[in-house]
């Protein structure tokens, strides 16, 4: 009720304001009627009309004043003043077009960058996940890895923290082959539990979710599939009739039961950088249980439960599992709110970016403050005149602030355009391995932020100059004739302090960016253990199941023979998992070794063919690599990497040892470690099995080392392979460099943006120095003229001005370096291969800033030395 009334009142007021001039006219009409009625009454009482009219008017008083008074009840006076100030501001902007353009440009760039970064922070950290009641969702990991189906079911049944648990199983890019609709194509399909979508609160756009019946069969033959929105658009041109049709997936008919809404972006939440085409059911059966650790799990908290309480409960449940189900892999549960799991890794980098953009804004403000101060010098007379005419101190202060806020709002308009472009560009960085990037957009929050930033910027950069205004002594200035006063020592001090702070801020930003850039270079320099240059990969899973090992062996023989026969191919091999790709791991032990269950060594498994090590560039350390003779009919063998060799047989020669895998595999070679998780993380244990000796591989990828461009190669390879498998799905060659690029993409994102900010900061700081020195020179033309007339040499003058510049820069540098040293410690988690106090970075940045400062001071200095003493003295 109360709220309703005040809202109504607000609306009324707004309407009054909006239709101000019309109301004014009507008010006059209303009062006119009053006077007229009064006149008539007086005439009726016997007064002659002219007298009556005069009396009425007298009685009514000065009509204008009355209307003014009436008006004041609804237009507060400050609105009027504001309009007046704005008019002044815009008139001033027109007069000083150069200054205005510059301010709008700089404020625009700064605000644009801020709004863009805010949008990213908003999408990744602030905005809730696009699910129903996202705060109740918890990510349940087994350390950092997956969970076995049996363990999942046990936890789901016995826990009291969650109303339900769902999950999805591991999948590979291009796991399913789609045939029967145009060219054969590889799809990425995610197996999900039946309750996955209901638990997240995701309703299919068309059709329905999986039934319990559909989640009972064998995991390799899904009866039904849900399409992702993107795939539906791309492949079926958004045709709703596709629902209810059967698709051929991996040679088996699969019913399309629905399409997921565009708002459900599995990729950007759970697996950034890997587009997903379809979802298939993941049965929770003995069969899937036998696949080992496969599932990523999510739980929905019961009311009252928290992630912490659930963690405590799961730790206990995990102990029970260790005790009662020794046949399972067990779990070391690590529970986190889903939001933290999704964006947690990106948040330190985002914080750095947010701080960086804040520092940029401070530099922008310092720079604009300085410009405004310089301009104020030129407007001394205007201000003095206003004061003389009765403008109060507050009134002048307000006028100055209105001017600066108006300027920064114009800048914000430009900034918004930049932010629209910026957020668009960022949302389309699909190859970047950063979560939720696709949901970055300029929304209402960002608009509010931009407005706030604009006003704050305006106030911040306008306040200092505004406070200086009353310090102009009225009489002094007006009397001051044409003599350009130097503005007093006080203001020179303020201006110098501003420049020093600009240099200091720029210095911290540059040091931060420098450290991260050096880290980036170090990461790129890392010995990957393989050579991504000139290596390319194509997925070539056969389109039919093998009936026997012999058939499989001859298929691979033929495939490799045909590929190697092509011109330009230097080596070719097959693998199931690429480096930086999958994380399939098994427990391993040497023959005769016994480990306690919870400390059993584990190793990543890679199933590869002959030629793989040569084509991907993994170095052999001892023994031999696989050959064509390691086949179904020969002795089971394996190759281990150096870490696994050290783990299982410390201090011994691994060659000739026997792994317990598959009833015993002889180790025939030791190869170098590969960075398989992240470039920053040293390799773990790895075990290679010959592809011809197993059926247990989730994919077949053809890796080639070539002198040609991979895209030119694709057609030739496809043509060569067609005779052995005409239905081989079409896909593109990817270079291994793409793989590496994707792995470093979050770091590249951070470094690119930060370097951009640092560059902008450097530019602003140098402009600031230039402006201050130029101003100082122009204010002291006469002094310089006198000095020169008295015999000071041009070089002498130049070096004096340069020294002054360098003095300012050095002071800023010292402050900036000290601040950087104190702050870079917080960057530690993002650094790689450099220490937070890296002397090379600090010295390099110091040198860079000094050079830039010297350049910025050189031009005004040269101008000063060319002043003609006669002209300078006569000018006054």
């Amino acid at each position: 009720m109360r709220l309703g009334t005040s809202w109504k009142r607000f609306r009324l007021r707004l309407r009054y304001l909006a239709r101000h001039s019309e109301r004014q006219r009507l008010l006059w009409e209303e009062m006119d009627f009053h006077i007229e009625s009064m006149v008539q009454d007086l005439v009726a009482q016997g007064t002659p009309e002219p007298d009556a009219r005069a009396a009425a008017r007298r009685k009514f008083g000065n009509m204008t004043q009355k209307s003014e008074e009436a008006r004041l009840t609804w237009i507060a006076r400050w609105m009027n003043d504001l309009a007046q100030d704005l008019r002044h501001a815009f008139r001033g902007m027109r007069r000083a077009a150069g200054f205005t353009t510059f301010v709008i440009l700089i404020a625009g760039l700064g605000i644009g960058a801020s709004s863009t970064i805010f949008s990213v922070v908003n999408a990744l950290l602030l905005r809730p996940l696009p699910f129903h009641d996202p705060d109740g969702l918890v990510w349940i990991a087994n350390q950092e890895w997956s969970t076995q189906v049996g363990v999942f079911l046990y936890l789901r049944e016995h826990n009291k923290s969650f109303s339900d648990m769902a999950g999805y199983a591991g999948y590979g890019v291009g796991d399913s082959a789609l045939t029967g609709t145009g060219d054969p194509e590889r799809l990425t399909s995610v197996p999900v539990t039946q309750n996955f979508f209901p638990l997240l609160g995701v309703q299919p756009l068309i059709g329905r979710s999986f039934t319990a019946e559909e989640c009972r069969g064998n995991s390799s033959t899904p009866p039904a599939a849900l399409l992702s929105y993107g795939f539906w658009q791309r492949q079926f041109a958004a045709d709703p009739a596709v629902v209810g049709r059967k698709l051929m997936l991996n040679g088996k008919p699969v019913m399309t039961i629905g399409v997921l809404p565009a708002s459900f972006d599995f990729t950007s939440v759970f697996d950034p950088g890997t587009p997903v085409d379809a979802f298939i059911p993941w049965p929770l059966t003995d069969e899937t249980n036998s696949h080992g650790n496969t599932m990523k799990s999510i739980g929905r908290l019961r009311p009252g439960a928290t992630a912490q309480s659930a963690q405590a409960e799961f730790t206990l449940l995990a102990k029970q599992i260790w005790r009662d189900h020794s046949e399972w892999n067990g779990i070391q549960p690590k529970l986190n709110p889903l939001k933290r799991h999704v964006s947690g890794r990106a948040s330190p980098a985002l914080m750095v970016l947010a701080c960086a953009v804040g520092v940029v804004m401070l530099i922008v403000c310092a720079n604009l403050s300085n410009l405004q101060l310089a301009r104020l010098g030129a407007r001394q007379k205007e201000m003095a005149m206003r004061t003389a005419l009765g403008a109060g101190r507050l009134r002048l202060l307000r006028q100055m602030l209105t001017e600066s806020v108006a300027l920064s709002c114009c800048g914000a308009a430009l900034g918004l355009l930049l932010a629209v472009a910026g957020t668009r560009a960022i949302a389309h960085l699909t190859a970047f391995n950063i979560p939720l990037l696709a949901s970055v957009r300029l929304d209402a929050d960002a608009l509010g932020f931009t407005l706030l930033a604009a006003v704050l910027t305006g106030v911040l950069f306008g306040l200092l100059p505004a406070l200086q205004v009353p310090s102009f002594a009225v009489g002094e200035t007006l009397k001051d004739g044409s003599r350009g006063s130097s503005g007093g020592q006080g203001r020179a001090w303020v201006r110098n302090a501003l420049v020093v702070s600009e240099v200091a801020f720029a210095c911290t930003l540059l040091v931060g960016a420098g450290l991260l850039m050096r880290s980036f270079v170090r990461v790129l320099d890392v010995n990957l253990g393989f050579q991504p240059e000139r290596a390319a990969v194509l997925r070539v899973d056969p389109s039919f199941p093998f009936k026997s090992r012999q058939q499989q062996n001859s298929y691979f023989d033929e495939m490799l023979r045909r590929t190697r026969a092509l011109a330009g191919i230097r080596a070719a091999g097959l693998t199931d998992v690429l480096p930086l790709g999958g994380d399939r791991a098994w427990q391993v032990s040497g023959k005769g070794q016994i480990y306690p269950k919870d400390r059993h060594p584990e190793s990543f498994v890679r199933v590869v063919s002959d030629g793989y090590f040569e084509s991907i560039g993994i170095r052999l350390k001892a023994g031999r690599v696989f050959t064509q003779r390691d086949r179904a009919s020969s002795e089971p063998v394996a190759i281990v990497n150096e870490t696994l060799a050290r783990t299982l047989w410390p201090g011994q020669d691994a060659l000739g040892q026997v792994l317990t895998q598959d009833g015993g595999r002889r180790v025939v070679g030791v190869v170098a470690d590969v960075r398989h998780e992240a470039l920053e993380k040293a390799g773990d244990s790895e075990m290679y099995l010959p592809m011809r000796q197993t059926f247990d591989y989730p994919a077949v990828q053809l890796v080639v080392r070539t002198a040609l461009a991979p895209d030119r190669l694709a057609a030739a390879v496809r043509a060569a392979l067609r005779p052995i498998d005409p239905n081989l799905p079409v896909s593109e060659f990817k270079t291994l460099q793409d793989l590496v690029d994707r792995a470093v993409s979050p770091r590249r994102f951070l470094v690119l943006l930060l370097a951009g900010f640092a560059g902008f900061a450097l530019l602003l700081a140098s402009l600031g120095i230039y402006a201050v020195i130029s101003y100082a020179v122009s204010q002291r033309v006469q002094e310089i003229g006198i000095r020169m007339a008295l015999g000071a040499s041009a070089t002498d003058l130049q070096s004096r001005i340069l020294l002054r510049t360098l003095g300012l820069a050095a002071l800023g540098l010292a402050l900036g370096m000290a601040a950087s040293r104190a702050l870079t410690g917080t960057l530690e988690s993002l650094l790689f291969g450099v220490t937070p106090g890296d002397p090379v970075t600090f010295l390099g940045i110091g040198a860079l800033l000094i050079v830039v400062a010297a350049l910025a001071g050189y031009f005004p200095a040269r101008r000063a030395s060319r002043i003609d003493p006669m002209v300078a003295l006569r000018a006054s």
Binding site: R9, F33, F60
Partner: protein, 112 residues
């Protein structure tokens, strides 16, 4: 700024209250309101026109009265005001308050 007191030496808010009371009689224009106040007070209270119109604006702005253009008895365009439900409520509250204040003043002055 923005709020104005009636020029007559009355308790603050009295003019507003009287205008509202007058308007319980129906739709009236500004001149009629002024006339009625004068008549009903036996010529004791004369409303300054310069106070009346700001008061009308203020009351309308608060949503207590609603103005509407119409034709006067002698066929001229005039603005007629009517009391809104909110205004009636406000009038009652004001009247109660006024009675309390004047009662208090009267007790102090020994009128009762």
């Amino acid at each position: 700024m923005g709020t104005e007191k009636p020029k007559a030496d009355l308790l603050p808010g009295t003019l507003d209250m009287m205008v509202l009371k007058i308007l319980t009689r129906g739709h009236l224009h500004g001149y009629a309101i002024a006339q009625l106040i004068q008549q009903l007070s036996d010529d004791l209270l004369r409303v300054e026109e310069g106070s009346l119109y700001p008061a009308l604006q203020r009351l309308e702005l608060n949503g207590w009265i609603e103005g509407e253009w119409g034709l006067s008895a002698n066929n001229r365009r005039a603005r007629f005001y009517a009391l809104t439900p909110d205004g009636r409520k406000h009038l009652n509250a004001e009247a109660t308050r006024y009675r309390q204040v004047t009662g208090a003043v009267a007790r102090i002055m020994g009128f009762v």
